[in-house]
Symmetry: C2
Subunit: 241 residues, 2 copies
Amino acid sequence: VTAAGVVIGNEILTAKVEDLNGPYLIKRLRERGVPLRLLIVVPDEVDAIVDAIVRARRSASHVITSGGIGPTHDDVTVRAVAMALARPVVRLPEMEAMVREHYGAKATPEAMRLADAPQGARLLRQEGVWYPVLACEGVFMLPGVPSLFRLQLEAVLGELQGEPIALRILFVSHGEPEIAGALDAVALSRPEVSIGSYPQFDRALDFKVKVTIEHKDPAVVEEVAARITALLPPGAVLRTQ
Amino acid sequence: VTAAGVVIGNEILTAKVEDLNGPYLIKRLRERGVPLRLLIVVPDEVDAIVDAIVRARRSASHVITSGGIGPTHDDVTVRAVAMALARPVVRLPEMEAMVREHYGAKATPEAMRLADAPQGARLLRQEGVWYPVLACEGVFMLPGVPSLFRLQLEAVLGELQGEPIALRILFVSHGEPEIAGALDAVALSRPEVSIGSYPQFDRALDFKVKVTIEHKDPAVVEEVAARITALLPPGAVLRTQ
């Protein structure tokens, strides 16, 4: 189980609104133990969204979109997802009934667009929101309004079972050029372990590089941490976390 | 002139570090009047980066990358950009001299990797950073450390001349289903004008939808704002900004 996120929003790319959904998605997927392989922010344009969805589906088993769900001309996500999946857009009778019930007298012809979905889409109901998540071939279409996105994301996460990842951080007193050889040697021999190296240049801090080691098996993480520590000069690892 | 951003960082996708460079890039490009067409966050993996660079180059005239610049095994941006541009990676004598000068006795063989670049790359010098921006076929490779990214981004922005975009915001008292017809009509007849519709569901606020109208010509923006206002019920536009 892996995920990719597609954030649809001119308002984000044009700096009118800060993207809250991307960072929230990153955090919740991590808590759930689902690896996020890709996050793309695209404008509200069908071609750009189709391209992003196709690419996201190649990178991950599940795709979560944010934004472009609604009755106005700039809400083109359903159409774009349908195109990316080579399915027609159809009006779902079950959704039509929901839209009529929600809007009552205000159920304009434009409001009824909310009843459209890629053919074959499933509806994921979530308490507290009248509008369900549309899901089709592993693509989950969520609204961009952050409060709604957060609520509906829980319905999606309920379907994704991840596995926790063990993490060890080494704080190292030497710079990257000096430790790169040791990291190389270990990284090459253990390609299945994710080893990250993050320099920092603030002299007020005592360490120069933060080395992260990740794998689902905590024993593997500790073994790799010990190997890296042994290859570095004595005392170079100031502390671990 | 258009831009696309590629943020390279496992640490961001795994929620260990919040992405500061993406939001900063969005803000500075907007201030500069350069439209951002795409922002992608990918892991530190050559294939994923190559794919993102290729896609970014299809969407925009200039691509700015963040991260993966450095001497360690997870710094693969230069190699990936070279692959995306179908160029070999070469060691630049001019960069070799810079690396030797900067690191002195600590110029390990791994440090010398900082002298590698896609063949034909230009160096953009920036005051306050010893390491230049590498630029090749409109791809600008910036480091991920936020303080360095910000400094070096200014060198890139110096090469990108955008044009300011006029923006008018209408605060509307009616919901999207009720105003979608009016927005449709205007948006269809003026496809060159960017019209956005952003609902909000907080009842403490007096408006239900924020409509944004953007174009480089302020007169066009005002004309479209007036047309939308005229098509909505009297008094529906509470105020403009």
